[in-house]
Symmetry: C2
Subunit: 414 residues, 2 copies
């Protein structure tokens, strides 16, 4: 595909106008929106207003007069629309890890009522390690023969056997970009009485997710990747309406109490999804997120999906064409229906190559041991930028400019 064909793709891109909703530096090509989404316009002003006018002037009264109090549910309802969830089934709160702990614990306890004796918490080796750490923490606490069982990602469907109490499945693999079939795995799991907690970190805002339609029961996710909520933005959790009244959250805090301001000495869980709230929410972070979510009001996620797949194809084809001797392996080899919104390449010197790319203004990221990862965020990245990015990669490989000590030196976050 030549440059004029690529320019035509951009010209005809139905999502083209959305780029204006973001503040993007001019000198970079940002292919890391799957790690930290770009800054939506309006966030800085809104946050300034929250700080100076709401906190600064209305002070404590803001909880009422500026509607801080209902914000976790309000933001949750906005996210719900993007992940195919019913209104009233999502709240924004805490981090993904903490939310996963809440729901996994709740799922294990439901299992104890429904299928006593099951002691396996299932996940796959393609899951984000953090989620495995959360499982390990809970298994260690519960004792009583609970165990984590890990299988290869492609084995997960067959591993949903009747000794499994609960499963934690991240829909899109952070390294490879493999996407699990949510509807199929959910159906298999429910058939065997297994509670699944879906991690949507690399799904929400990347493509249409249909939690309700898939029959999913539990989900968590972050909002700082494709949802552009800002660094460390509050995460969210989903519980199907059918189970909301049955679950007992382990992290029972005052924001999840049925009457927080009665200051009752006994915990009485709120009705519905709100019982999954715990402590005081991050009001500043949640305002940034709430404003960032306005981006999605007129976005068709199916178009986002289509463009992301076209970008992946374009990227892959250009690597083959422009870097034939680059030594890259294709990590993201899956058919379109089985991949997320990123393309990953393998290279033994992946770390240094990525640092050289970043130095040239192409921002992707590196994931150990050898993966160069490029996220596709169709709202603010053009096809022409994909072309330029691969041109720069090809130049780096052809000149060997990546092979310098400064690019091999590891920093804390890579």
């Amino acid at each position: 595909m030549n440059k004029s064909e690529i320019a035509a793709l951009d010209q005809n891109d139905p999502l083209r106008s959305h780029r204006d909703k973001f503040e993007l530096p001019e000198d970079i090509i940002y292919l890391d929106g799957n790690s930290l989404g770009a800054l939506p316009k309006g966030v800085a002003d809104r946050l300034s207003d929250v700080v100076t006018q709401e906190w600064g002037k209305s002070l404590i009264k803001s909880w009422n007069v500026h509607d801080w109090y209902p914000q976790p549910g309000r933001v949750g309802d906005k996210i719900a629309k993007l992940i195919g969830a019913e209104q009233g089934s999502v709240v924004s709160a805490d981090s993904t890890s903490v939310n996963l702990y809440k729901l996994l614990t709740a799922a294990v306890r439901l299992n104890e009522d429904l299928n006593p004796g099951r002691r396996v918490i299932l996940s796959d080796t393609g899951n984000f390690p953090n989620d495995l750490y959360v499982i390990q923490g809970l298994v260690d606490l519960l004792g009583d023969d609970y165990e984590m069982r890990l299988v290869a990602p492609e084995e997960i469907a067959h591993a949903l056997t009747e000794d499994v109490a609960a499963a934690v499945i991240t829909q899109v693999d952070y390294r490879t970009g493999r996407r699990h079939d949510m509807a199929d795995l959910t159906a298999r799991a429910k058939d065997r009485g297994i509670k699944v907690i879906w991690d949507l970190c690399h799904s929400a805002g990347a493509f249409p997710v249909d939690l309700a339609g898939s029959g999913a029961e539990f989900a968590v996710g972050c909002s700082y990747k494709y949802l552009n909520g800002g660094p460390g933005a509050p995460a969210y959790l989903y519980v199907t309406p059918d189970l909301q009244e049955s679950i007992r959250p382990p992290l029972s805090g005052w924001m999840g109490h049925t009457s927080p301001f009665d200051f009752d000495l006994d915990y009485k869980p709120a009705k519905g999804i709100a019982r999954n709230l715990c402590g005081t929410p991050s009001v500043l972070g949640m305002h940034a997120l709430e404003t960032a979510l306005e981006v999605w009001e007129d976005v068709d996620l199916q178009l986002v999906r289509e463009k992301s797949q076209r970008m992946i194809e374009l990227f892959a084809g250009l690597v083959d064409e422009l870097c034939p001797d680059g030594g890259f392996s294709r990590v993201t080899t899956f058919p379109e229906e089985s991949r997320g919104s990123q393309i990953s390449l393998g290279h033994p010197d992946g770390y240094a190559i990525m640092q050289a790319l970043i130095d040239r203004g192409v921002i992707g990221d590196f994931r150990a041991p050898n993966i160069l990862r490029f996220g596709m965020t169709p709202l603010y990245v053009s096809y022409s930028e994909i072309y330029q990015a691969v041109e720069i990669l090809a130049d780096i490989m052809a000149t060997g400019s990546w092979d310098q000590p400064k690019y091999h030196a590891r920093s804390a976050v890579t």
Copy 2:
């Protein structure tokens, strides 16, 4: 005390100059800094910079180039100085509730090794109910005959008996302002092998706290009250260096891993306090907090303590003098060494009276069932304001202007 004597107190107040560090609306008297601290100058600009320059321009690179990654420990070290904790013994993370859950669970597990068979988690009825909810959530999860035992605040010293596994003690009672003796209770608890988690929500920034000197082992606290970190600011937790390597956090997440970017499938806790981190921190909230903490760089907390006590005495004396027939009971009756930084009055119509006060620009708050609560924040409240506040209260009581339907109507947050 007459007005000119009060003006002299302000004139001679060694903390007087600190008020300039805050953005305060001119038309109110803010006596609710024990609920949400005032906005320090500099926070809005710093946050704007973090959003537009760091997130907006440096994007994902900010984790390295703008030092987001080490921030939880860096902020923790700044808080440590204010609560008498060793450097490297505090991290900023999550909410107070989540941190309390982490440390209480860790303490219970230490108990299982040290004193197997103990099943009581002790607290007192003056604790903030949220903390009791966290205990209840853990007890419910642990099963195995664990129980919460509640005693009256004045009974807590004698209730530290050898069947107690762990105790959760909030140093200052959010309703009455009673302050527990940290050194004495810690010594008694250690003598009986009991792990105590101190909640410092109403302590940090209100008076000198000496965790290390008291021999305290665990503590948590919020940063949005006397520390002025902003609404829902990240909380913190403390673990004595002696125990940091012994504890197993139940919420094991990637930020507490010894090598988060190795993406190891096995959780290996970081050395030291960092293992108590879990998910991705709230970067925006933590920057607001870090800037807010600059306020304390040249503050002597002993002077803060002295002024707060003088303000309480002044307030109490003026209520007696100006509202002799107001029908107020004195809730904060404790001697100076046993009180925090607030004064609470009881009144059967406390809610409506507080709403009338707020309507007149005196911001305190109401705590069920009948408490009017006034927080003393010596850095930005003057003695003259205390006088004016009580004058307004006296006028409201003398005219009966509080007794209107609009003041009786309850809102969500009170």
